[in-house]
Structures are given as structure tokens and as C-alpha cells.
């Protein structure tokens, strides 16, 4: 596959994401600059973690106006696969490509620790190499990772199977302690209705090698590779698995 990894001013995990894709997974990576106007010829765009524009305003609120975001929006509209990690997730929410918003953590402080996330739906372009109910061990590192949305949005996310990952304990149980930031519904990752745009707060790119952070993160990237290049649309797919009830 041909991946595009965007560098916004203040992106910090861009190099790591490119390293994982190129060196560990043997993929082709094009490094994109925030002032680029085109993402032509690519199969998946990654918006990496970091502090775009310093995140002095709301996280992601400035980056969404970067020139490249117009191209990303067009790419997503055409069904291209878009993956937003941490700050990338925040930017996708600000840009309206994903529902909801990410606000200050429940405990207010920046938080860096390992979390467990349960795969709520393995029928997506981002989790097809997992089984539903699998628990992944991934790091989080963010100050504003508390996922919020209004009641109606949350209901439609549940109904549309758009909640892809939830924070749980190691056994896959949703508990208050396992939720690191106070996210509603313990939501750690969501997709859009069409299924081609996915954002998550945990960092799969920091869990792709045994020596540094474990290997559970590979499953996310391998799923995208397995889903193949081209247009993804799960909204039309038959509902084979039951929707898991919320916490």
C-alpha cells in the first residue's frame, strides 16, 4: 500500500509512524507536509500524534485549517482510508470528519501510561486482524483525550457500530479505573458512518516492537493493509455481529 503520513508543525509521532510502516511492515510511505495541496496516488493517510501548532488553542483547532486538510477531506469523501492517532484524532474531530470532541482529561493532568482497549467491532478496515472482544495493550499519552458527544450522537454511534475501541481492564471489563481520561462510554476509538475514517487516542505506532512497547499496535496497521487499497465502505455491509451494549 501507499501510505501518506502528514507532518503538521508540532507533529511528534510522524517519524515513528513512518518508521513502523516502512521499516517494520515494509510499506511505502510518502511524507506529506501540511502546506501540500494534494494527496493523490495514496491509499491511506495518517494524521499522527503531537502538538500541532502547539495546541495552544483547542487541540487540533488550528491544524484543521492547514492547506492539506482540504485534500484530506476530499480524499475521505471519496472513500479513502484515513487514520488519526491522538492529535490526529483531535484534528479529525475538529474537521468534522469524525463525530464528537476530545476535551481535557478527567483528572486534568497530562497522562502517559499503558491502557487496555477492547475491540468492539472486528468488521472494520482498522480492526479486521483482531477478533471482537480482543483486548489490546497500548500506550496513551495525552492531556485532552476525554471523548465527549451529545446523547443523540452517542446513541447513533452505538447503533451504527461506530465505536471501535473501548478502554477496559486486562480482562476486557469496562471499569472506572480502566478509563484513563473519563471518556463517555469509555470510548477510545471511533469510525465514521461510512467506515473509512478512524480516530483513536492510544498509540498503536508505539506498540509495534517487543523491545519498545509491545506488539499489539501492529494489528491496527496490518488490518488496514489487509483491507487492501481502494475504497472502503462498511455502511452497506450486512450486520453480522451484534452491537455490544455500552458500559
Amino acid at each position: 500500500m501507499r501510505w501518506g503520513v502528514i507532518t503538521f508543525p508540532g507533529s511528534n509521532d510522524d517519524a515513528q509512524t513512518a518508521y513502523v510502516l516502512e521499516r517494520l511492515l515494509g510499506e511505502t510511505v510518502v511524507r506529506l507536509w501540511h502546506k501540500d495541496a494534494s494527496v493523490d496516488g495514496l491509499d491511506c493517510i495518517v494524521l499522527p500524534g503531537g502538538f500541532s501548532y502547539g495546541d495552544y488553542l483547542r487541540c487540533g483547532a488550528v491544524a484543521r485549517f492547514s492547506p492539506i486538510m482540504l485534500a484530506v477531506e476530499r480524499f475521505a469523501r471519496e472513500g479513502g482510508i484515513v487514520l488519526g492517532i491522538c492529535n490526529g484524532f483531535q484534528i479529525l474531530c475538529e474537521a468534522g470528519l469524525l463525530p464528537g470532541a476530545l476535551i481535557r482529561n478527567r483528572e486534568l493532568d497530562f497522562l502517559c501510561r499503558r491502557v487496555h482497549v477492547r475491540v468492539e467491532d472486528a468488521d472494520t478496515a482498522f480492526t479486521n486482524r483482531c477478533r471482537r472482544g480482543d483486548v489490546l495493550d497500548l500506550p496513551v499519552k495525552h492531556g485532552e483525550g476525554c471523548y465527549v458527544a451529545d446523547e443523540a450522537t452517542l446513541r447513533s454511534l452505538e447503533a451504527g457500530r461506530q465505536i471501535v475501541l473501548r478502554y477496559t481492564d486486562a480482562e476486557g471489563r469496562v471499569t472506572p479505573e480502566a478509563n484513563p481520561n473519563g471518556s463517555l462510554g469509555a470510548i477510545a476509538g471511533v469510525r465514521n458512518a461510512r467506515g473509512n475514517v478512524f480516530g483513536l487516542m492510544p498509540h498503536p505506532e508505539h506498540a509495534c516492537e517487543w523491545l519498545v512497547g509491545g506488539e499489539d499496535g501492529r494489528k491496527i496497521f496490518l488490518s488496514v493493509i489487509a483491507s487492501g487499497s481502494g475504497v472502503v465502505d462498511v455502511s452497506a455491509a450486512p450486520t453480522s455481529s451484534k452491537v455490544l451494549s455500552g458500559p
Binding site: 508543525p9 508540532g10 511528534n12 509521532d13 517519524a15 515513528q16 518508521y19 513502523v20 500524534g49 503531537g50 502538538f51 501548532y53 502547539g54 495546541d55 495552544y56 493532568d109 497530562f110 497522562l111 502517559c112 501510561r113 499503558r114 500506550p139 499519552k141 492531556g143 498509540h203 505506532e205 508505539h206 523491545l211 519498545v212 512497547g213 509491545g214
Partner: protein, 743 residues
């Protein structure tokens, strides 16, 4: 404005120093020149009280590519790579304004590293606060930790380790020492020597504002008094986002395809434009002409005096080749940063500054740098310490309940878990962190190689107060043990020497003793001191801090996958004590926490014994024998064993059954802080080989128990569930910070 001796005194200079300026210039200085002299001759920039003593430190060795004297030191680590590292204090600003003080401390040390062409891959910090009960402590801890996190997280350099200590001796003077390590190709280290007469001098980065005037230089060169709170406006304000852009732009300029444009580069840190220009000219044996009217400004009306002395952050001074101006500017344009030609290299060996066509500074370089005042300050051993140092063990009641004693120690401010601190730091970014905070030393992979670098920062100020020589030796020894416990061989040292006023003979005595200890220990371990920083005047209203020579030590693992952590790994592994227990309790955490006493001298220490222990552990790690390794330090054997048992992020909790032979008081056996000891765990079948190595090095070795179950049991004294130990240890710090006053 006419300059007089009174103006000089107000700038922190002495009357003699002012006379020296007049005789150097043959006239009265302009106000701008006085400003230049005052910052360059400040303690912070000139090292005028410490320079004479520091000359005795070992600074050479086969790995040393750059010793003290540049922005940071560099060591060869093989495979064509070098590591560049340094530790620096930001004590005074952090007490006045904890968040920005600590944040800009991190920003400053990062610039020192990437100025050398190295990409920073790890931050550590050594923090000392007052008593946890002091009303200001919680406020300071929160501010400092948030500031460090803010800067490091945002710029994208992982904070991978450090130390936090509490002691009433720091109630009015906290210590914030920041360490950064970077990696560079060994043949691509950049230096700050302004050469090539006629070459343009370029200013890049943030615009200059009025912040931080006399900040790092003067604030850090005088003690605190009742007025110090008012100095808050002199604390600089950090912008990690701009520094991230500056970092990327500078490294882009220093990449092979662009670096032929660049002659020299230096961070504008303490004393800003003044020190960066004079130091670059001094090293290059040249002079510099600056047109201050060309400096990019944040607002109109900034005076030449302010331009020269501003400590606005995130700025760099470059010397580039003639004709390269546009190419250099293009790189900074890409990153939306300012870049302006503000001067030229000359052959005058003078700093000459004009502003709107008028000459405001014209002074020779040498008196500002190499020929700056050096003081051999009198040193005298403090009197009256001997009586209070005595400790008769028979006067101490033995604990009735060792379980309770161990729990109280694990919950105490200096021994409890630092998780509340380090979870606020991004320790993953960069993708190289092999051992995250919480174990003896941090380990970070060397990009593009199988090797890894281990790092630690250490000091035990209680020992340093009783005996600064032994304290400094033990700080180096503990640092070396921490590296060995991670499997790394110690290769070099940086130091941050935090002391009171050098004008006091007893402080200079402490300084002299600590430097001697540092020298002897570094010689013994073969670890040259390649960079460092001295922070004097850590005192308030006449009371100085305990002498605190903080050691940053770096080690090398040839094979990153052979790293070791402190936590027990598997049931059935043998628990082994390397080194000898001694009946000592002097200056221990146990004495302070349980008996509320600070006395009893310092533990026995012997550098040859330490060296043999380090060699044993490093060799055993290299052969893959060690399942875990942990230094026995504050809190003694019992606390060290508890720390081996408690769960980490990646390992489950495991108990142990331990039997100790002592033949002396059980509290000294369990909680004494004898040096040169480590606890390792190994598979049974590896015991023979471990014994062989220990015997060869003449290191005492004893199997003291087995990893087993979910309880820590030590003889008949201790028997507690590991979960109970872990809970007490893990939650204590957050509880104490929430419980103690502060805002």
C-alpha cells in the same frame, strides 16, 4: 545615561570589578557595556568562584569527542555514533515561577544539545523540594512537574527518568536540574566557533522581547531575600512549539546536504545575545560586529541594552558562509521562523555593537571570557558537626512491628513511588524507550543500531551534608550501580553542582570536598566528566541548601535486548545479594522517618569494592544471566526487596521468601544503607556461572532466597502481601500532595 560605580553595584558587580572594567576600557563603560560585563562576569556565566576547582576533574578518555567548554560534551559510542549530553540547573527561576521556570530549564538544555547537531532522544530531571509538609511544597511540585511535562511533551522528546527528593533544607530554595541526551553521527558534531572574517552572523528563532532580562544570569547569581518574589518578571516564558520548529529547522540545516552553509551555531541562553556572540568569537579567536537595529523584535521601543540582555527563549545565533544567507533563510522560512543577518565576523577580537548608527558597545572579547575574574575563595571546614554526628545504636529502640515499619518507609516522601510525577511525562515519543521511568536507570535505544544508552541522575544530599566528599563519591557510585543494574557499562558523567553562597568559607569547603569526591570517583570508574554546570547562591536569608552535587551518568549496552529491570520475573528464580551487609544506620532514611533523627555519620564506602561490583553485574547482564537487578540504596535491603516484588507496568507482582544472615541488629540489617550492594535474581541453573564471575571479582555473593508466591517474607520479621506493599507505595505521593496545603 552616565555609568558610575553605583550603577555597577546595582548590576551585581563589586567596586573592584567595576575598577577593572574602567581600566580595561580606559574609560567609563556605556550602560550597554556595563550590562555586557555584568552578565558575562556573573557567577552563572563566568564560573568565577568554581573555575579554579573544576580544573582537577578528569575530562579525557578514549571515548571523549568533546569535553567541557562547548555547549555540551560528546562521547563516542561506536558504529559511527556519538552521544551528546549535559545537565543544567534552573533553580532560582523555578522557585519564583515553578511552571515557566522548570519549562524553560528543559528548553534551555534541549537547545544546548541540538546546537551540537544532535537530535535529543531523552530528558531526565533531578528535583529537590522542601519538606512535603511545607505550605509551598505542593504548589511548587505541581508547577515544576507540569512545566517539565508541558515543554518535553510538546516538543516531542521523551522524559524517561529522574529523581525527586524532599528535605526541609530546600524549603526556600528548590532544585530543578534538567538533563538531555542527544545522538549525532560522530563526524558531524557542530561547534560554536565564529571563524572566517566577513562571514555573516545570523539570528534565527523567536523575536526578542523584554523577558528574562538578568534572568538566568543575575537571578541565579545572588541569594534570595524577602524581595525575591518580585523578580518573577525576570523569569523567561517558554514556547515549546516554537522550539520544536527551531529544532527541526536547525537539524535540517545541519544535515549533510545543507551543512556546508554553516560555520558555527550557538544557543542564546543565559545572557542571550551577549554571551552567545562573545563566546563564539572567543572560541574562534575572532571578533564580532553586531547591528542591534537588525534584531527581530517583539515590540517597538526595545532598547539596545534590553536587546543585548534579553533572555527571550527559542533563539539561536549562527555564523554562516558568505553567500549562504538566502539558502539558510529558506530553511527557516519553511518552518515559519525569523532569520536575519545581524552582523559580521571580524578580526578585531572585539565585540562591537551599533544601534541606529551609533556605537553602543566596543569592548575586547578576552576580558569578557578567558580573562574574566577568577576567585580563589577561602574555604574552611564548618565547626561543631562532630557531636551531632554521633549515633549509638543501643540508644535506638528496635521497632516492635517490622511490617508496620516497612510500610511506613514505603509510604514516606522519599521512598514512595514517583508514578504521580512521571505519568505526566510522555516517555514514549521518539519510539526508542526500552526502559521507562520506575526502574534503576532509563534505557533508550540508539537509533539505527542494536545498542542502547542507559541514563540516571543521582544524589543523596543527606550524606553530602554530613560529609560532602563521601556524599559526592556515593552519588557517583549509586549512579554507576543504577546503570549496571540496567545492564549498562558506565561511560561518562555530567554534573550539576548545587551549593549555597561561594562567599561563605564553609560553602566553599563543601564545594571543594564534593569536587574532590567527584574527581576520585570518576577516576575510579573511568568515567570522564564531559559537561556540567555550577549553581551557587542557593540560599535564602543566609541559610544555604545542603550541598547537592547531582550526577548525571550515561552507560552503554552493546545489545539493547540484554537490558535488565529491577522487578522479579518468575517464580522459582534465586534471589541473590551481591556485596556485604554492615551494621550501619547513619544518615539513613529509616533513622529520619522512623526515629526522626539525622545523624550517625556516613556509611563505609570503598571505590575499588564498588568497581568490582559494577563489573560483576555488567558482565552477568552481558551474558544474559540476570532476570532482574536492583541497587540497594535509600531504605536499605527491605525496601529494595519490596521494590523488586511490586508490580510494574509490564510485570505482575511476585513475592519472595528471604532469609538474611547478619549477626547484628535486625533494623540495621533490613534498613541500613551500606553501599556497594545489589539484589539480583537469576534462574537456578545460572547460579554457578554468577558465582564464578563474583568470585573472580572478589565480590561477596549469597543466595538469600527465592521468588515465590504473592507475599514478601523476610526471616521472622516481615510477612506482607505484595498487593498491600504496592498499594501503600503507589498511592502515597498523590495523597501527600493532596493533603498538604498549597494552592
Amino acid at each position: 545615561m552616565r555609568v558610575t560605580v553605583e550603577t555597577a553595584l546595582a548590576h551585581g558587580l563589586t567596586a573592584q570589578e567595576y575598577e577593572r572594567i574602567e581600566s580595561t576600557l580606559g574609560r567609563a563603560p556605556t550602560i550597554e557595556e556595563l550590562g555586557v560585563f555584568s552578565v558575562m562576569w556573573s557567577e552563572h556565566c563566568s564560573y568565577k568562584s568554581s573555575r579554579a576547582y573544576l580544573r582537577g576533574l578528569p575530562t579525557t578518555g578514549p571515548r571523549v569527542l568533546q569535553g567541557p567548554g562547548e555547549n555540551a560534551g560528546a562521547l563516542d559510542v561506536g558504529d559511527g555514533f556519538a552521544v551528546v549530553f549535559k545537565i543544567e540547573s534552573h533553580n532560582h527561576p523555578s522557585f519564583v515561577e515553578p511552571f515557566q521556570g522548570a519549562a524553560t530549564g528543559v528548553g534551555g538544555i534541549l537547545r544546548d544539545i541540538f546546537t551540537m547537531g544532535a537530535r535529543p532522544i531523552a530528558n531526565l530531571n533531578s528535583l529537590r523540594f522542601g519538606s512535603i509538609d511545607h505550605p509551598r511544597t505542593a504548589f511548587l511540585v505541581r508547577g515544576v512537574v507540569a512545566g517539565i511535562g508541558h515543554y518535553g511533551n510538546c516538543i516531542g522528546v521523551p522524559t524517561v527518568g529522574g529523581e525527586v527528593a524532599f528535605d526541609p533544607g530546600y524549603d526556600h530554595n528548590i532544585l530543578v536540574n534538567a538533563f538531555t541526551l542527544g545522538v549525532v553521527r560522530a563526524d558531524r558534531i557542530f561547534r560554536a566557533r565564529a571563524t572566517g572574517v566577513g562571514n555573516p552572523v545570523m539570528y534565527v528563532g523567536s523575536r526578542t522581547g523584554r523577558d528574562g532580562i538578568h534572568g538566568a544570569s543575575l537571578l541565579a547569581s545572588a541569594e534570595f531575600d524577602a524581595e525575591s518574589e518580585r523578580k518573577r518578571p525576570t523569569v523567561q516564558v517558554g514556547d515549546p512549539f516554537t522550539e520544536k520548529l527551531l529544532l527541526e529547522a536547525c537539524l535540517e540545516l545541519m544535515a549533510p546536504e545543507m551543512s556546508h552553509h554553516l560555520v558555527a551555531i550557538q544557543d542564546m541562553g543565559a545572557a542571550g545575545l551577549t554571551s552567545s556572540s562573545t563566546e563564539m568569537a572567543s572560541r574562534g579567536g575572532t571578533g564580532i560586529d553586531l547591528d542591534l537595529s537588525c534584531v527581530p523584535l517583539r515590540e517597538a521601543g526595545v532598547t539596545p541594552y534590553e536587546i543585548l540582555l534579553s533572555e527571550s527563549q527559542e533563539r539561536m545565533l549562527l555564523v554562516v558562509h558568505r553567500g549562504s544567507e538566502d539558502a539558510v533563510k529558506a530553511v527557516f522560512d519553511k518552518w515559519d521562523l525569523e532569520a536575519a543577518v545581524i552582523g559580521r565576523v571580524t578580526d578585531t577580537r572585539r565585540l562591537r555593537c551599533t544601534f541606529e548608527g551609533r556605537v553602543v558597545v566596543d569592548v575586547p572579547i578576552a576580558p569578557l571570557t578567558d580573562e574574566a575574574p577568577v576567585y580563589e575563595r577561602p574555604a574552611a571546614e564548618p565547626q561543631g558537626g562532630e557531636e551531632s554526628a554521633k549515633l549509638k545504636l543501643t540508644d535506638l529502640a528496635e521497632p516492635a512491628d517490622y511490617n508496620q515499619t516497612l510500610l511506613r518507609l514505603l509510604e514516606s516522601p522519599n521512598l514512595c513511588s514517583r508514578e504521580w510525577v512521571y505519568r505526566q511525562y510522555d516517555s514514549y515519543v521518539g519510539g526508542g524507550t526500552v526502559v521507562r521511568p520506575g526502574s534503576d536507570a532509563a534505557v533508550v535505544r540508539l537509533p539505527g543500531s542494536d545498542k542502547a544508552i542507559a541514563m540516571t541522575v543521582d544524589c543523596n544530599s543527606r550524606l553530602c551534608l554530613v560529609d560532602p566528599y563521601v556524599g559526592a563519591v556515593s552519588a557517583v557510585a549509586e549512579a554507576a550501580r543504577n546503570l549496571a543494574a540496567s545492564g549498562a557499562e558506565p561511560i561518562g558523567v555530567t554534573n550539576c553542582l548545587n551549593f549555597g553562597s561561594p562567599e561563605k568559607p564553609e560553602v566553599m569547603w563543601q564545594f571543594q570536598q564534593a569536587v574532590a569526591g567527584l574527581r576520585d570517583a570518576c577516576l575510579a570508574f573511568g568515567t570522564p566528566v564531559i559537561s556540567g554546570n555550577v549553581s551557587f547562591y542557593n540560599e535564602t536569608e543566609g541559610r544555604s541548601i545542603p550541598p547537592t552535587p547531582v550526577i548525571g551518568m550515561v552507560g552503554l549496552l552493546e545489545d539493547a535486548s540484554r537490558h535488565v529491570t529491577q522487578w522479579f520475573k518468575s517464580e522459582g528464580d534465586a534471589v541473590v545479594l551481591l556485596g556485604r551487609n554492615r551494621e550501619e544506620l547513619g544518615s539513613s532514611e529509616y533513622l529520619a522517618v522512623i526515629h526522626h533523627q539525622v545523624r550517625g555519620g556516613v556509611p563505609w564506602i570503598d571505590l575499588e569494592t564498588e568497581r568490582r561490583l559494577i563489573r560483576t553485574v555488567v558482565e552477568a547482564a552481558r551474558e544474559g544471566l540476570l532476570r532482574s537487578a536492583h541497587d540497594v540504596a535509600e531504605g536499605g535491603l527491605a525496601v529494595a526487596l519490596a521494590e523488586c516484588c511490586i508490580a510494574s507496568e509490564t510485570t505482575a507482582p511476585l513475592g519472595a521468601r528471604i532469609e538474611l544472615e547478619g549477626g547484628f541488629r535486625p533494623d540495621a540489617l533490613l534498613f541500613g544503607e551500606s553501599q556497594a550492594r545489589m539484589i539480583v535474581s537469576v534462574r537456578r541453573r545460572h547460579l554457578t556461572r554468577l558465582r564464578e564471575i563474583a568470585r573472580r571479582e572478589e565480590v561477596p555473593i549469597a543466595v538469600i532466597g527465592e521468588v515465590r508466591g504473592q507475599r514478601l517474607e523476610i526471616g521472622d520479621f516481615v510477612g506482607i502481601d505484595v498487593a498491600t506493599l504496592g498499594e501503600a507505595w503507589r498511592t502515597a505521593l498523590a495523597g501527600m500532595l493532596a493533603g498538604s496545603g498549597g494552592s
